[in-house]
């Protein structure tokens, strides 16, 4: 076989490999995007649930108007947040306000016995969990994406086509680490 023939075969194999790597990187990037959107879906769900919760507990917790106001304010701030960093900060504040509300709810036995409140609390706990799991999934898939484009020789292709490593979701406030504080005894 001529030198040219061998050269041609090598080029074809290389081109094929580049195509495969590029496609797998694109697939991963889409998964990462999807993972990111899932977090937003769950955050939006939490925003939708809060007015319901506040309306239900209002009657029982008349002495805690201040706390309820803070929850509503934090919720509105979070819903109107601009940009990722701002959203992360305001969602964190909302989590804090919510956990204070649930801690106070412990003092109201009739409130705790209310079926509607129980249901709402289960919904909110579940949404909190989903936010956590969505972030966990995003971090896992983004890590996979980052590794895939940083290892040699795939890094050449990633550089060639301008793939950027994605930032991982990290807990910014120390208080955020205490999410289980929301898991009150109302949960089964």
């Amino acid at each position: 076989m001529s030198v040219f023939g061998i050269f041609l075969i090598v080029v074809v194999i290389l081109a094929f490999w580049v195509m495969l790597k590029y496609n797998s990187l694109v697939a991963l990037r889409n998964q990462v995007e999807n993972g990111w959107r899932q977090i937003d879906v769950q955050l939006k769900r939490r925003h939708d649930l809060i007015p319901n919760l506040v309306a239900t507990v209002k009657g029982y917790m008349e002495f805690e108007q201040d706390t309820l106001q803070k929850v509503i304010a934090a919720r509105n701030a979070a819903a109107g947040a601009q940009g990722v960093a701002d959203a992360a900060k305001k969602e964190g504040e909302l989590s804090g306000a919510l956990s204070r509300l649930f801690a106070l709810a412990e003092n109201y036995p009739t409130l705790k016995a209310n079926e509607n409140v129980k249901q709402l609390q289960e919904e909110l706990s579940s949404t909190e969990n989903k936010i956590g799991f969505a972030r966990q999934f995003y971090n896992d898939i983004a890590t996979k994406f980052n590794i895939a484009q940083q290892v040699f020789p795939a890094s050449i292709i990633a550089g060639m086509f301008g793939f950027q490593p994605r930032e991982l979701f990290e807990v910014t406030e120390p208080g955020e680490r205490n999410v289980p504080a929301v898991d009150l005894s109302l949960r089964k």
Binding site: E122, S126, F133, A134, T143
Partner: protein, 340 residues
Amino acid sequence: MAQRVSGNIFEQQQTNRRNTVLVMAVFIGFVGFLGLGFDVLILGLGQRGSFHLPVATLLAVGFGSMSAFWSLQAGAASVLRSSGAVAVAADDPQYRQLRNVVEEMSVAAGLPVPSVYIIPDPDPNAFATGKDPAHASVAVTQGLVDQLSRDELQAVVAHEMSHVRNEDIRLMTVVAALVGAAMLLSQFGMRSMQFGGAGGGRRSDSSRRSGGGGVIFLVFWLLAMILAPIISRILAMAVSRRREYLADASGAELTRNPGALAAALEKIDAATDPTRSIKQGTAHLCIADPLGAAANDREGWLADLFATHPPIKKRIDALRAMAFQARPDPTALKQPSPGS
């Protein structure tokens, strides 16, 4: 860690896809062999001066292919029906928590939300079925919902979601459906044997030369017929043991809470009553053996053949070891490792 486990998952998916095709091919081949036996022994194919189409073989292969196709398409529905599972309505307040937990785990696994089913049985148990992650179902018994805490329920559902993600469910469902089909077939074969024996005897009178071969063939055919249920049973069992450990581990990876699954398995183990709703053919799909077979407590090649599940104590120990490793490390707070 995430990298290593996801590598496992990919391998597991590949193995499962290959094995599903293999199981279906073996089944079609087996049924075709029975058809060939019918052709040779009863219709006299291959005898002097009688060359015709192997009608029974073709029919049998056709039937086998249809069964295999059916097991893939309708296996999940048939498994759910046979265990008396009832679909949980989206807004049923009684099972709100169960549905939420399933939704949480599908978020964690990055998969579509599976259909949720309840099996009205007081013994705690659970299984997942379906032909692919987009058409998956998770079924749990009433006893599981009643006896487990929220975290434990979440851990069990995470184990089932891992079966969905690893694509164990398709292989396990196909095996369950084909085991049922093989059982039916062998019963049918047993009944038609009297007719087959008479035909063979008459023919060996008329042509002595092929008589010896015919008898050998008859013996093989009978063996195959008798072995069918045993082979399919062993197949179903071999399929499930190793994957339970993997599903435990990747389930714990979803919840990041291996201790909860260990606690759940302890509760399931403590409930000694068999799960009566779950039939023998579907035992290998469940999180713990519904029949409580003694073979499950042992290890070794014999136990590998006859147990559907690894020893539950060993699973609990493995999970507890994971929980010990997962204990928060003070240095991890300063520098969160990606992927943990």
